[in-house]
Symmetry: C2
Subunit: 213 residues, 2 copies
């Protein structure tokens, strides 16, 4: 990678860390450049504005996270085991964020959604799209689970997927507020209840990939 | 109320509106005073700092919200009907906030939890306490419901209460992001699934206050 690419990456890494720690509004371009060790002039070589930078940070973060979600949710195992893997991976991400930053940083998208929804239509629109894609990915795996009889038959898959993503955001909020990634441990129990999988024996079968009957 | 009390109230009202619209970090004392129509000198007569003001805004908001929650959840009707009333009241609050502010403003506590948890220990501590009290209030009504046989017998009431508050925060996040208070409509269905009330006939009985058997 050339020096030009390095400067852009340094700005993106610094911006992502600073946004995670202090939000978007409080940040200035000068501060981001100082943290990145890059002269302010070169900032505007790569990004038209602080907003353009934030959109790039959001896009790159979602590209990486979507790849992880797609890999975990699209695997070979039983669908609900893949969903459980996603919850565990989310907890692991929050745990390592806590180690790197000294405190749980939460979800970049949730943080910015609450900070900026009434202030920045472009960022709001991008975040709407991302949450919609998250709900789509969860819906696919819940549909697979329902179709093979792993959930209650009456489950509304879209509604369930939306509830799971909402629960994830709410639990990540608790994890951040309490500085405790363990708040995410309940995701799996919660999800089973939501999908009507109430019997422990049935839960074991569903995780093992056994067909009903 | 004397003029002194009026000035303090004007500052509190302006601060609450501005925090709801733009968050805490972006605000300055001068801006709050300008919006309140109060000279900056009198700000420091009432509040030692912007943080002290924010803590007062939080406390007064929780005093009012707790009174509403206590009234709704402590009423005479069947426990799960009271819980449904709380969800409906939350949607109504978001709807009227949308009308007053031009956009859904979300939950003051959730917004500040994500904005400030890693930055301001005092505000973080106060918000932890408030969410804990919310979970306590929900737990009481879920326990009542379980004890009269309205939920699945195996429900872990503390865990369920925490999940309900997390779901509420996640759904309010969606309501804010999509500027759509209707995102809260699913709270009741979600809560029934979580508590193992899956049969529509049983749901009607539970709401009507009919005893099982």
């Amino acid at each position: 990678m050339g020096r030009v690419g390095q400067a852009r990456d340094k700005i993106l890494i610094a911006a992502r860390t600073l946004i995670a720690q202090r939000g978007y509004t409080a940040l200035g371009v000068a501060e981001i450049c100082a943290a990145a060790g890059v002269p302010k002039g070169s900032f505007y070589h790569f990004f038209q504005s602080k907003q353009a930078l934030a959109l790039t940070v959001i896009d790159e973060h979602w590209t990486a996270q979507r790849a992880q979600w797609t890999e975990l949710l699209g695997g070979d195992g039983p669908p609900l085991r893949r969903l459980r893997d996603l919850f565990e991976a989310t907890e692991t991400v929050q745990r390592s964020g806590q180690q790197d930053n000294g405190a749980v940083v939460g979800c970049l998208f949730g943080n910015l959604a609450l900070e900026l929804s009434s202030q920045d239509g472009d960022i709001q629109g991008r975040l709407q799209q991302i949450f919609n894609e998250q709900i789509d990915l969860i819906e696919q795996v819940v549909t697979e689970a329902r179709d093979r009889g792993d959930t209650a038959a009456a489950v509304d898959v879209r509604d369930a997927a939306r509830s799971i993503v909402a629960q994830l955001e709410g639990r990540v909020l608790f994890a951040k507020l309490l500085n405790d990634p363990g708040q995410l441990e309940a995701m799996w129990r919660n999800c089973l209840a939501l999908l009507g999988v109430t019997d422990p024996g049935r839960t074991r079968e569903v995780l093992a990939g056994a067909r009903p009957e």
